[in-house]
């Protein structure tokens, strides 16, 4: 690079040799120093000596052109060799070197961000309500005419969401029982009230933690699968194909899945309850000097039918939530494979969020109206 400073208002810079990615950064710095340090009114960049010139060198030149123009000065490229010309014909130099071409960091205001978030939350809520309406309609239609339900699909999803989930749900519930039993025992031991560990573990597992854990696992296993499957079909135009073949996609795709979940979740919850109790029993007998029959009797005395009913009602509600959210997120997929991934993630996150909300509401409701 050589600077020619003979007359100040106009400055010429000549570049020569091989310019490539390896020395683009140095070149950029040198040139920037050259054009920003002192006063001149127009800049000529002479490229006649260039032997090799790649895109990074071109980017440097464009950036210098943009900086110069942005400072209100003239800029000219001279001595264009064939290699440079070839590269130039492929790009839109005007646009790339316009003073506004540099990307400005967009400082999004916190308020605007909050507002945007609130709006998208509202839109999301609205979409959910609309989908709940569609799904309810499709469900009702299916029950009026049960032969129209795709039972084969329903059984397939029931097997996948239910039978295939047994090992995981079982293991998690057993561990949950063990942990709860251990924690309860540590406290109760101080008062010699070991036997009440059975009450604590039993009630927590049956009314609350069993259904909650089971449905969070179901959301992770099946809710995500529903979103991924329906999302893929959406992106592949298979959902459009269904519509144009005269099928209602909600009835065809969502009803069997939701039905399958509502069929298997109660079974999973009962199963999870038993394994939770077993966990408590193991700790109680192993560490709390309780007998098996004593523990079981205490559990039987504490856990009323209504407690089990309460757990099942909660679990069934969560199952509906997981099914609805999984299918809805699937139908919301749009465009490309990436959106299927987003749908899947958001199916799980939304489902867990809603499960917790529903749990709070139902717990309060049962508290006020339940035992009366």
């Amino acid at each position: 690079m050589s600077l020619d400073d003979s007359h100040l208002p106009e400055r010429t810079i000549s570049l020569a040799g091989r310019l490539s990615l390896t020395d683009a950064t140095t070149l950029h710095e040198d040139l920037l120093n050259g054009v920003t340090s002192d006063a001149f009114e127009s800049l000529k960049l002479n490229l006649s000596g260039i032997e090799y010139f790649d895109s990074s060198a071109m980017a440097v030149v464009f950036d210098i052109e943009r900086t110069t123009k942005a400072a209100g000065k003239k800029f000219e490229l001279t001595g264009l060799t064939e290699a440079v010309k070839g590269l130039l014909t492929l790009v839109d130099r005007e646009k790339l070197t316009a003073p506004s071409a540099a990307k400005k960091p967009k400082p999004e205001r916190i308020l605007a961000q909050l507002g945007g978030g609130a709006l998208s939350f509202l839109a999301d809520t609205k979409a959910f309500i609309v989908f709940v309406g569609d799904a309810a309609g499709a469900m009702a239609g299916s029950f009026v005419n049960p032969r129209s339900i795709r039972w084969r699909d329903t059984l397939f999803y029931a097997e996948r969401a239910g039978a295939d989930a047994l090992p995981l749900v079982g293991l998690v519930s057993l561990l949950l029982g063990l942990i709860l039993g251990f924690q309860a025992l540590m406290q109760l031991k101080q008062f010699g009230a070991n036997i009440y560990a059975a009450d604590l573990v039993g009630l927590s597992v049956v009314c609350e933690l069993g259904p909650l854990m089971t449905c969070i696992l179901v959301a992770g296993r099946s809710g995500s699968a529903f979103a991924a499957e329906i999302g893929t079909m959406k992106v592949n135009e298979e959902v459009d194909a269904l519509v144009t073949m005269g099928f209602d996609p909600v009835r065809f795709l969502a009803v069997p899945r939701m039905l399958a979940l509502t069929l298997v979740v109660p079974v999973l919850i009962v199963y999870s309850g038993f394994l939770g109790l077993l966990g408590g029993l193991i700790v109680g007998v192993g560490m709390g000097d309780l007998t098996v029959s004593g523990y079981l009797l205490e559990s039987q005395k504490t856990i009323q039918l209504w407690d089990i009913g309460q757990g099942l009602i909660k679990g069934e509600t969560y199952a509906v939530v997981v099914g609805l959210v999984g299918c809805m997120r699937g139908f919301q997929a749009r465009g490309s494979a990436a959106s299927v991934g987003q749908s899947t993630t958001s199916a799980v996150v939304t489902a867990i969020f809603l499960i917790i909300i529903v749990d709070a509401v139902l717990t309060l409701m049962f508290q006020y109206f339940g035992r009366g």
């Binding site: 592949n236 459009d240 144009t244 073949m245 005269g246």
Partner: protein, 280 residues
């Protein structure tokens, strides 16, 4: 069996003679997505038995228009009459009645991935008829042989090659003997030979069954070889900028936008005259 009735691709596919009844009528169709207007008051007609092409650069609204013709989306204004019935206003049973007259070949094929080829083809037959399984099986094999496939009934779509998928999808689209067949970019994703074979197949179906075919495409060889008539859409005008025989559009249009479209096609190496003879 496909070889026996093979139709050679000629320079142009000539339209069936005589005045024909209108089968699709589009009147003052306006389509908007949010603020953006994509189609602004588009009107045209498609005649029974012809092969009709919808042309235009990418993003000009071809697929959008096709989705309106199939009733997949509702327009902001205007209507689409399929064989006299308005598909934009139809609901429930009436919509079903209209949909039964049309078959669709989607760009990606859109075969249901969780079903075999046979199940894909018979899905609608099982829903709308009480035919015994034996009859359905015969129909499935008939439709498959019509598109030059056999012994793929029990395959899953993922086991088929790209060209076979398109053919199987075509067989599914023809399962209910539709009067109109819509095809979105039929040659996309196929090599030139596969694309030419599919074009042949469309011509054959049109000639032997009289099915009206509506094709969205920007494959120029395809346009000229297959279509009897075409309209061209433009993004800036949001409307039809030309209508007529594909060759006339290419050679005699004064509209710079039309010329531009064909020039760009030519530049990209797809030449109307040489394509069919060129090696891959």
């Amino acid at each position: 069996m496909a070889e026996a009735t093979e139709t050679k691709i000629s320079a142009t596919n000539t339209a069936p003679a005589g005045k024909r009844p209108v089968i699709v009528q589009v009147r003052d169709l306006v389509v908007r997505y949010g603020e953006a207007t994509i189609l602004d008051s588009v009107s045209f007609e498609i005649y029974q038995g012809e092969i009709f092409a919808i042309l235009g650069g990418s993003g000009c609204g071809k697929s959008t228009l096709l989705r309106q013709l199939m009733g997949l989306e509702k327009p902001a204004a205007g209507n689409v009459l399929i064989d006299g019935d308005d598909i934009t206003a139809a609901e429930g049973d009436e919509q079903e009645k209209i949909l039964r007259k049309i078959g669709i070949l989607f760009q990606s094929g859109a075969l249901f991935g969780s079903m075999t080829v046979a199940e894909n083809i018979s899905l609608r037959l099982l829903e709308y008829s009480d035919l015994p399984q034996a009859m359905i099986d015969v129909i499935i094999r008939m439709k498959l042989s019509m598109v030059g496939l056999d012994n793929v009934e029990d395959e899953m779509p993922s086991e088929l090659s790209g060209g076979m998928k398109k053919r199987a999808a075509l067989a599914r689209a023809m399962a209910m003997d539709p009067r109109i067949l819509f095809c979105d970019e039929p040659s996309s994703g196929l090599d030139p030979i596969g694309a030419a074979e599919l074009d042949n197949l469309l011509i054959q179906l049109n000639r032997s069954l009289g099915v009206t075919i509506v094709v969205v495409t920007h494959d120029l060889a395809s346009i000229s070889a297959v279509a009897h008539r075409a309209i061209m859409l433009d993004k800036s005008v949001k409307n039809i900028i030309a209508e007529g025989k594909p060759l006339d559009l290419k050679e005699h249009s004064d509209n710079p936008l039309v010329k531009n479209f064909f020039n760009r096609m030519a530049e990209s190496g797809v030449n109307l005259k040489t394509k069919s003879g060129k090696e891959k």
